[in-house]
Every structure is written in structure tokens, then in C-alpha cells.
Symmetry: C2
Subunit: 263 residues, 2 copies
């Protein structure tokens, strides 16, 4: 779903979404932080917040809203979580029931929004360092896999970590580890590299999400914790009501990727 | 060559060396920076300095002396390079000709001393982070290998990079990369991990220097640039006159390993 939309800032992307743009945000507003969105009733929100606190690599928290407040001024002064994403997903009892482009009619006074960091931010840093990311070169989605790495549970939220995989030469893998370690707010350093079976991945050619990206000779598979983890955990917990972003249709903020670097 | 010597500071080790201690410095003065020593006539010194500048991973410069001056106050106020190492090596035309414990009789007004960082410093940081280093646990020397990675040449100095290898689990390898990247003054991040053949190592069980340390199941070999590189390059260049430390008999300085961390 390539977009012909051009937007230079997070504010522009949000304005376009408010005016009807419903496509993917990859490549829009270069340099601005894009985030995963999870909205839950206050009843489940405290459990989910503890889950994020205990699993910072797959669930790096950028911001948590006040209950009932659809604004998040820390991420954008004008930001309205009900209208500013191109597309949402509505979940009831763990089942996907709708993909609305606006959630004003679903908003409630007890809802709490979580914005989680996304790998777009660290991929920008890798590209700027001259590291090739083949899933981008071939225009496909990064391959993602369920692993045998267990997340630390909290209330009803539990399950395996989902990871994304990028094939890299050993020299690039070393640089990518150093670079992404500087970005703990967007998944940080990898969780594994080398043998996929060591983390329960039977076949790299058959990802659970996204598209396969074959290894070239001499490359190692490098695995980062992935923002799909919280969505998988939400589904498995069958919470009565949840809203998330639709895949690829992220919240684009006013914060810069460069702000997220440790040093 | 285990030592029963106990010394808490670099100054104490240097005093002991001055008074006749001629053993290994590993484990002495914990927390203090130990360095590789290379002494060359001014005639070769500029070429060697350019070699170090071009190859900072194997040859991380901690200090360079003034020509003819055997002191290096930046590394120790009382430091005298002619007496303060337990043992030296004297080279003529690239051949080892003596292993004196004192080089006062060899000192000349045209000699320049180079002190290069050593992996003892980053190993301390790895151990403090709870990462197991098996060559230390089994009391042997780290295995080292000549590679097909070419150093950038300068004047007569050229040749392959020598690397040291430490077997690590993938999770520890990732942490070790992040930790050692903070220490560019002592070899920094690894230069390779995984397949040894990719850097020209035919058999991990047959190191060119040091002792073999077998991989345990699930471990990856991780390779760091090694301070043996400049010694191998000096030998190959057959310079008329050179003095180095004897293996394991390092210069112990007043600087702290923790000072060398970037952040």
C-alpha cells in the first residue's frame, strides 16, 4: 500500500490523517518518532503498564495518557489520539472486529492510551550509519517470529516475545548492536543473533508475521524485540475491549528520532 | 607463571618492577590500566605513529613519549619506562635477541615510546557486568589468531590484524559488544563474530598465539582486535632496533580502567 502522500513533519501527518488519509506511515515525516498505539480501559491499564515496565525491550513506553484524556501533549501539542492515526483496529474479547479510521465514537472516559516505540526510529539510525536493511531494499515487511523467550507476565498479560529479524554481515551486526543500544526507547540492542533454533524459531523462511528475507552468504540473522509482542499478548489475553493502531498506520509524533539517543 | 606478588596500585607494581619483580602483571593492581609498550628510534617512530592512527582497533594509543624522554607523566608521575616494566624484549632486525628486566643500558636520546591499550581493561568491564570469560576461568591465555583482515599500512609497517577470541552465548555477545564499544582506547567493539573462516581462521583449535578455548554448545566465537598486532607488524618490518614489553609483563599505569569509558 504505497502512499503518494508527502508530509515533512509529524504534525502534517496527523493533520492529513484527521482529513481522511488512511494509508501507511512508513517513510512519512522522516526523522520524526512513530509509535505503536494501545488503548485499554483503566481496568486493564494498570496490568498492561506493569507488563510494559517488566518487558521494556518489546514494550518500550514513550508515553501514557491520563485516563479519559485523548491528548498527549508530550508527543504533540495538538495531538488527538481519536483522529490522528490513519487507521485503527478495534478488538473485543481478543478478536479483531473493525478497522475504523477515526475512533471518536468509541472514546470513553475510562480509556488509557499507551504509545510504544517502534523500530522505524532505530532503522533510521542504521541507514544513516550506512547499514543496508534488505527488507527495505526489497520493499517488503520485516520478518517477525514468535519465540520461546517468555515475557515477564503481569495480570492477564503474558506470552512469548515476538522478534523482528534483519540479516547482517558480522561487521554490520556489531555496528548495529552498538547503534541500537543507544536507543532503548525503541527496542534497544538485539535480544539474539545467530542460531534461530536457540530462541525457538524452526524456519527463518516462514515468519509468523511480515515477509521472509533470505540470508545471503556470510550473513547472520540478528533479532530485535518487536512491537508486535504487545498486540499478540493483548489478543491472547482476550481483554473485553482494546483499540490499537492498524499495522503500518502509526502515530507520528513531534519528537525527533535523534532525541531518543542516549548519547 | 603465577605470581604471589600483591600490588594494589600501578605505582606499587612499578616500584616492585624497579626492585626486581620480573613476573606477569595480570591480576595485579585491579582497576588500573595496563598497557602494551613499543619503543622505536625516532627514524621509525613517525611511520609507526601513522600506523597506529590508521589502525586504532589493534593499536589504540594511550600515550606517546617525547623523543629521548623515558618518562610519561600522563600515565604516572614517577613513571620511568626504562625500569618500571617487569620484563622487556629487545629486537634487532625483527629478531628477538634478549629479554632484559631493565633497559637503562639500551636507552638512547632518539627513542620514542608508545603505550597501547590492552584487553585487560575491557575484560574487567565484562567481568563486572557478569560476563564469563572462559580463558580466565581455565587459567589460560586468550587464543589469538592471524586473520586475512589487512591493517592499513604506513611506511614499513603493514600486515594482517591479529585478533583475540572469546566464546560467548549470543545474549552475552550482544552485551559484550555494547560494553566494549564504550572502550575505544582498549580495542573497542569486536571486529568479527561467528564464522572464523570469514576472516581467514581455518581452525579455532589451533591459535597462532595463546591457548585454545573450545566453544560450548550454543556459543559464538567473538573476535576483538589484539595488541599482538603491532608486535607481529614490527617483526615483519624487521626494524633495526625495537624494544617492547615481554608478553604478559605490561606497563601498569596510574590511570583507571573506568576513566577510559566513553560514558
Amino acid at each position: 500500500m504505497a502512499s503518494v502522500i508527502h508530509a515533512r513533519t509529524g504534525r502534517e501527518v496527523r493533520r492529513l490523517a484527521r482529513e481522511g488519509f488512511s494509508g501507511h506511515t512508513a517513510g512519512l515525516a522522516p526523522g520524526y518518532v512513530q509509535g505503536n498505539l494501545v488503548i485499554l480501559p483503566e481496568r486493564e491499564a494498570f496490568d498492561f503498564l506493569r507488563f510494559c515496565q517488566r518487558n521494556p525491550k518489546p514494550c518500550p513506553l514513550l508515553a501514557v495518557s491520563e485516563p479519559g484524556d485523548p491528548h498527549l501533549p508530550a508527543l504533540g501539542e495538538d495531538l488527538d489520539l481519536r483522529t490522528d492515526l490513519p487507521r485503527y483496529r478495534l478488538w473485543r474479547e481478543g478478536a479483531l472486529v473493525d478497522e475504523p479510521t477515526d475512533i471518536r465514537h468509541l472514546w470513553r472516559s475510562d480509556l488509557v492510551a499507551f504509545v510504544l516505540g517502534c523500530s522505524f526510529s532505530f532503522e533510521e539510525a542504521l541507514l544513516q550509519a550506512g547499514i543496508r536493511l534488505r527488507h527495505l531494499e526489497c520493499g517488503c515487511n520485516v520478518p517477525m517470529y514468535r519465540t520461546t523467550i517468555a515475557c515477564a507476565p503481569a495480570g492477564p498479560f503474558k506470552g512469548p516475545m515476538v522478534v523482528s529479524m534483519r540479516p547482517l554481515s558480522p561487521a554490520d551486526a556489531i555496528r548495529a548492536i552498538v547503534i541500537t543500544a543507544r536507543f532503548p526507547a525503541v527496542h534497544g540492542a538485539p535480544v539474539h543473533l545467530g542460531d534461530p533454533r536457540a530462541i525457538g524459531i524452526a524456519d527463518l523462511d516462514r515468519p509468523d508475521y511480515g515477509d521472509p528475507v533470505p540470508l545471503e552468504p556470510g550473513e547472520l540473522p540478528v533479532f530485535w524485540a518487536c512491537g508486535v509482542t504487545p498486540q499478540a499478548v493483548l489478543e491472547a489475553a482476550r481483554v473485553p475491549f482494546a483499540i490499537t493502531h492498524a499495522p503500518g498506520c502509526m502515530l507520528v509524533t513531534d519528537r525527533r528520532n535523534s532525541e531518543l539517543a542516549l548519547a
